[in-house]
């Protein structure tokens, strides 16, 4: 089942009234959507607000989603429109238009790179997460590190990774899983702290 198929399954469940299915889509796309929005909204807390608002709008518009484009492409469009409305209502304008191309090669009209203005707390949390993940990746045994890197950074399929690493696909699947578990174990204390603090 491809990534798009998984999203489609979750969308159909949400369309049948399963709000928890929509929650999985939020968990999956919130960071990517926030990064997209950060290209034309400077303030970190505004980015979070607009991200949140975009998901609510997407939920309300679910009955009109017909699967003609990928869910994230559709979501990104909603995000961009929400951001434009936000900037317009706040009397601000995106700085300079530029083209942004998503993973499907679709272009979006966007503002140019805008430096982030995260709150110090958010900035610190971003850095802590990235540092923890990177350190955990570096501490992995080489075969786990290679497998997870080929998957997450290079986007290779299990079959391709199996060819590169000269091992069975089942081994690739196991290595990637063990890598994720090892990294998640390092992240957990940080996320628990953050949950108590903010989430």
């Amino acid at each position: 089942m491809s990534d798009r198929d998984i999203d489609q399954q979750l969308v159909e469940r949400a369309q049948r009234g399963e709000k928890r299915a929509f929650d999985l889509l939020v968990a999956k796309y919130q960071r990517r959507l926030a990064r997209l929005l950060s290209r034309f909204i400077r303030d970190g807390s505004d980015i979070e607000d607009v991200t949140q608002e975009a998901f609510i709008k997407a939920y309300r518009a679910l009955p009109s989603f017909r699967g003609e484009s990928a869910f994230y492409t559709w979501l990104y469009r909603i995000g961009i429109n929400t951001a434009k409305n936000f900037l317009s209502s706040a009397g601000r304008r995106p700085v300079v238009n530029s083209e942004f191309e998503d993973e499907d090669g679709e272009s979006f009209d966007l503002a140019s790179q805008v430096p982030d203005m995260n709150t110090p707390e958010t900035e610190l949390m971003n850095k802590e997460i990235v540092t923890t993940v990177n350190a955990a990746v570096q501490a992995l045994p080489e075969e786990l590190r290679t497998a997870i890197s080929l998957r997450e950074m290079d986007g290779l399929s299990y079959e391709e990774i199996a060819q590169v690493m000269n091992c069975p696909i089942g081994t690739v699947r196991s290595r990637i899983f063990r890598a994720r578990e090892a990294i998640a174990a390092e992240l957990r204390p940080l996320l628990d702290t953050a949950k108590n603090r903010r989430w």
């Binding site: 939020v26 309300r60 997460i129």
Partner: protein, 157 residues
């Protein structure tokens, strides 16, 4: 189940296994946390500078006050139906191909009908050009050896 979840998010789980994994994630809060954490790991590895963003709780709280979305099922035939349709189509095409091949493979011999004992009075190549219509359209047929067949007691059609 966590290993299946990991494979699922990589698009490496098929059919019923994928369905079961999705059900489990939707049902169990712990697996939802794992789903979230695994995606966060991927985002952090790809240097997303907004890995700390977490609006799940706020969105869930707001959605709790939203009327439940109930979209009519219309635009998407269930996968099973589409598969069944594809199988039926493939079977039809195969059947037509086999029948067509059988017909063509009897090019110079007696027809299938004749084999079955139906009286065939005449079997004449069109090359004789005594039938103007067939002669005129002969070039438009896939098989240049078009035959006229008369059934019955020698009555020409």
């Amino acid at each position: 189940m966590k290993e299946k979840l990991s494979a699922l998010m990589d698009g490496e789980l098929d059919g019923q296994h994928a369905q079961r994994a999705i059900n489990a994630i939707a049902d169990e809060e712990e697996l939802k946390q794992v789903w979230d954490a695994y995606h966060m790991i991927g985002d952090a590895m790809r240097a997303n500078s907004h890995v700390a963003v977490n609006v799940r709780q706020q969105v869930a709280e707001r959605l709790a006050n939203e009327p439940t979305v109930l979209a009519p099922r219309r635009w998407f035939a269930p996968v099973r139906t589409r598969r069944a349709g594809a199988v039926a189509l493939a079977a039809s095409v195969s059947f037509a191909a086999v029948v067509g091949w059988q017909q063509l493979s009897h090019g110079n011999g007696a027809s299938v009908m004749a084999d079955r004992g139906v009286p065939v009075a005449a079997l004449q190549p069109v090359q004789q050009h005594d039938d103007l219509y067939l002669a005129a359209h002969q070039e438009m047929t896939a098989d240049q050896s078009v035959y006229k067949v008369s059934y019955g007691n020698g009555v020409r059609h």
